[in-house]
């Protein structure tokens, strides 16, 4: 009973933390983008504009939330919930510090990959159910892009699995005590980050939403908090990918002096900022360039990475 109560408490804490971080990121992203583009950003509501998040929440919650008469009602309502739920579920396997984490799963990595595959349903459903041409195009693009990059994401993690000999994220972190996997698995890291950006369809790979050509892509017809949920899902996704990059390639909670949980949060914040910097820096490629790059460059490179890792492991005995 005590065990059950403890795990429920941890789950509540992790979910609350994830949602709080996602909400805070709305403000962080706007301020950081403003900084890099030499403007101020939101600075009026509360100290440093921190209460902007609250103002936005109240505004978006009280907006008209309509379901179009030409849409497929059930699927239309379901789609935004799926993206939030799948993103939150993946947090179950993240080891935050020794002893802190929702579950110690021996198939942790597979669980993450499964959840990120389910995320495809959200955007494909949203695009199709909206009954709008822009949405349909956005949904199709999102599905094709997420499916393709799913393949490379799975492949890029195999090197880490070979080195650690486990799918369990705790074991993977413990295996990095001497050397972080970002050194032997540098290629894997690069592929994973690129695939992560494409999976969360963040800029520069936000072609499913591409507002200059598709208005808002798959969420053109959404309004109110249903629209907001796609953004909450996106920010949770960014946090998740950053946390995974830290866990898999940058030693997780390992670090000198400071307590483990502080190291984990510090590293994760750094990678979240990197995601925002990517958005501030790069222009958007064309869709055929994106998929071509994936299948013609990322796939051969990640296969080569796998073979080289295998060969090196073999040579070292």
């Amino acid at each position: 009973m005590c065990e059950a109560a403890r795990s429920i408490l941890v789950v509540v804490g992790v979910l609350a933390g994830a949602i709080a971080i996602a909400a805070g990121l709305i403000w962080v992203e706007r301020r950081l983008l403003a900084l890099w583009q030499d403007r101020l950003g939101p600075n009026r509501v509360g100290p440093f504009g921190l209460l902007q998040v609250m103002a936005d929440m109240i505004k978006i919650m009280t907006k008209e939330d309509w379901v179009p008469p030409f849409a497929d009602r059930a699927v239309f309502v379901l789609a935004p919930a799926i993206i939030v739920v799948t993103a939150l579920l993946s947090f179950a396997i993240i080891p935050f510090a020794p002893g802190i984490g929702v579950v110690d799963l021996n198939v942790g990595l597979l669980f993450f990959l499964a959840m990120s595959s389910l995320g495809v349903y959200s955007v494909a459903f949203a695009g199709w159910a909206s009954g709008n041409k822009y949405s349909l195009l956005g949904g199709l693009r999102a599905a094709a892009q997420m499916l393709s990059y799913e393949v490379f994401m799975g492949l890029s993690l195999m090197g880490v699995v070979i080195l650690a000999g486990s799918f369990n994220l705790r074991t993977i972190v413990e295996a990095q005590e001497d050397m972080w996997f970002c050194i032997p698995q540098f290629l894997g890291l690069v592929i994973f980050v690129i695939a992560g950006v494409a999976e969360t369809h963040r800029l520069p790979f936000d072609l499913p939403e591409a507002e200059t050509e598709l208005v808002a892509g798959y969420h053109t017809e959404y309004s109110g908090m249903k629209f907001g949920m796609f953004f909450v899902g996106e920010y949770i996704g960014v946090t998740l990918i950053s946390a995974l990059v830290v866990t898999l390639f940058f030693g997780g909670w390992n670090g000198p002096v400071l307590p483990p949980i502080v190291w984990f949060l510090l590293k994760t914040s750094l990678f979240i900022c990197l995601f925002i910097l990517l958005r501030a820096t790069f222009p958007r490629p064309r869709f055929d360039q994106l998929l071509g790059f994936g299948w013609k460059v990322m796939l051969p490179v990640s296969l080569a990475n796998l073979l080289v890792t295998g060969a090196v492991t073999l040579a070292r005995g």
């Binding site: 795990s7 789950v11 907006k63 579920l89 208005v215 796998l306």
Partner: protein, 118 residues
């Protein structure tokens, strides 16, 4: 073993609750004032031409098929990677052959033009 999945069940229920709660709250709190123009599909202010259930490029299907083929092949790599330290030389040679077959498949798809978007 099964009880280690208990937290997964908890997080599944709770996050499903959060998802449903947000959708419900938004529907309850938002006001509802439909008008004829508002009920049309958005098409940059023009009256929409036809509906959205129309033909789209077959390339999207091709990408989906490529995903299925390569993802299933990659599923075979997961168990291999996890026991690689036991298989060693045998595993490495096996994987060389497997990846070679995969590469031939990729080269074929590439040559047939399935990766081109014209």
């Amino acid at each position: 073993m099964a009880e280690s999945y208990f937290p997964i069940m908890v997080i599944l229920l709770l996050s499903a609750f959060i998802g449903v709660a947000i959708v419900a709250l938004s529907t309850l709190l938002g006001r509802n004032r439909p008008s004829e123009v508002k009920l049309m599909p958005y098409e940059c202010g023009m009256d929409p031409i036809g509906d959205a259930r129309r033909r789209f490029s077959v390339r999207f299907f091709l990408t989906g098929m490529l995903f299925i083929i390569f993802d299933i092949e990659i599923i075979f790599l997961y168990p291999w990677a996890i026991i690689y330290d036991k298989l060693m030389f045998f595993g490495f040679v096996e994987m060389l052959i497997f990846v070679a077959i995969l590469a031939v498949g990729l080269a074929h798809v590439w040559k047939k033009g399935a990766l081109e978007w014209e």
